[in-house]
């Protein structure tokens, strides 16, 4: 029971932290160079991992779905099913979760250890706003890079699905992608892409918050990295829930 006020307090702190991101983090004198460096690290260097998981996901999903579709006699709808599943839900969410695991923990641990070794203080002392330099760049980079990663992951997943379809039957690339894109509408793709911005933002802000407020010691750093991943993953699902309800209300489903 004693944890409830603590939870509420922490929620308030995260909210304040987010507010600080918008009030100070997005003010001019942008750390463009650092932002690009973070984009490179957060985006480009995550691509192999995300691509690999995406490919396997597409392949496995296809192979898992096939028996059910065969039993319903709609095996030819396999690309359609897989395409919609990947583009609408599995691509964004799995990518965001992998992203949270890789980037959330790395941001949490990096900022946590910087906090513990007083590097953040050192930055502040040297006339740099560490919030701008460390937090704003990472949150922005995560927000901007996750959608791109998701799109590329979707594409790689679909390729994996194509390979999966071809394990048991034969279809041409052209027919496969025609089928996939025929079944998709803007209402499928647009919300899926838009929500990944929020996923990325959540991963970035949670990682930064946890790292920035890390307690002293190596244990504090470990806890920051760990809780950053856990909280970011939970937030991703909550945002996903909100997104699906919102798209439902907007009639995009």
């Amino acid at each position: 029971m004693a944890r409830i006020p603590e939870f509420i307090k922490e929620t308030g702190q995260v909210t304040r932290f987010t507010g600080r991101f918008f009030s100070t983090g997005l003010k001019p004198r942008f750390e463009v160079k650092e932002l690009l460096a973070q984009c490179y690290f957060i985006g480009y260097q995550s691509l192999p991992l995300i691509g690999l998981t995406g490919f396997i996901m597409g392949l496995v999903l296809t192979m898992q779905l096939r028996p059910s579709l065969v039993s319903y006699g709609v095996e030819s709808e396999l690309p359609v099913m897989v395409g919609i599943a990947i583009v609408r839900e599995i691509g964004p969410v799995i990518t965001a979760l992998i992203f949270a695991g890789k980037i959330g923990s790395s941001i949490g641990a990096e900022l946590g250890s910087m906090k513990v070794t007083e590097q953040i203080d050192a930055m502040e002392v040297s006339g740099t706003n560490p919030f701008k330099y460390l937090v704003a760049t990472r949150v922005l980079a995560a927000t901007l890079m996750l959608p791109i990663l998701t799109i590329l992951s979707d594409a790689i997943s679909l390729f994996g699905a194509y390979v999966g379809v071809n394990i048991r039957s034969v279809t041409s690339v052209r027919l496969f992608f025609t089928q996939v894109f025929d079944s998709l509408s803007f209402g499928d793709l647009a919300p899926a892409v838009i929500k990944t911005f929020f996923f990325g933002f959540a991963v970035g802000i949670v990682g930064c918050y946890k790292g920035y407020n890390s307690s002293k010691g190596t244990r504090g750093v470990g806890t920051s990295a760990n809780t950053a991943v856990v909280l970011a993953s939970v937030l991703i699902f909550i945002i996903d829930l909100l997104a699906v309800q919102l798209t439902d209300v907007l009639g995009l489903n």
Partner: protein, 259 residues
Amino acid sequence: MEISTGSSMSEKKIPEDRETVIEIEHLCKRFGENVVLNDFNLKVYRNENVVVLGKSGAGKSVLIKCVIGLLKPDSGTIRVLGKNVPELDHEDLDKIRTKIGFLFQGNALYDSMTVRENLEFSLRRQWIKLPQTEVDALVKEALGNVSLPHTADMMPAELSGGMLKRIALARTLILKPEIILYDEPTTGLDPVTAREIDNLIIALQKKYHTASIIISHDMNCVKNTADRVVLLLDGKCYAEGTYRELEEAADENIKQFFE
């Protein structure tokens, strides 16, 4: 009692024309129930090394973090170069910070950057467009000051503790600060390296005419570097004087540091 004697002693020693760079009055800082600083007063003059002596957890680090604005005191004023630090907004604080160097206890070098980048970082942060040649010259000078010119392209993880301390010092010095705050500069170093650091502190003070607050409980360091020693006890300035004055004091609380 002791405070009054202390101040009278310093007044005797220091000429009237010397410029006051740091003036701390009635400084109070508490963390929850734990009162760390309670009505602390201190003046630091230009071209002077003041050593703050105290037990661990006596609030020495808190004191200098309040001076540079990393911590906000509960009450009291801290005038640095005529400006009250706790009341400054972020921009003015950044300006005043360019004139203050801070040597962290754990060096706080950015371990994701090379030594050169560590040094350049502070320079670049000031948003002054310096030509690259000038930046290079400044880096070279700073590294030369700490006699480690060859380390520029190394990562902090590749360097030893003493070297890191010197690099950290070089980084502090690159902005040519008027005030340097040292947070336990010799802690965790072997006596030989510690001596080197002491000598470096003195040499730099002579070279750049800085005012310094040195926090330490390493008595060798205190002895070497201190122009004036302030004993921090129970959140107050318990005693003040030269190293020799305090060493000879009869007070038990003072004596325990000099044994």
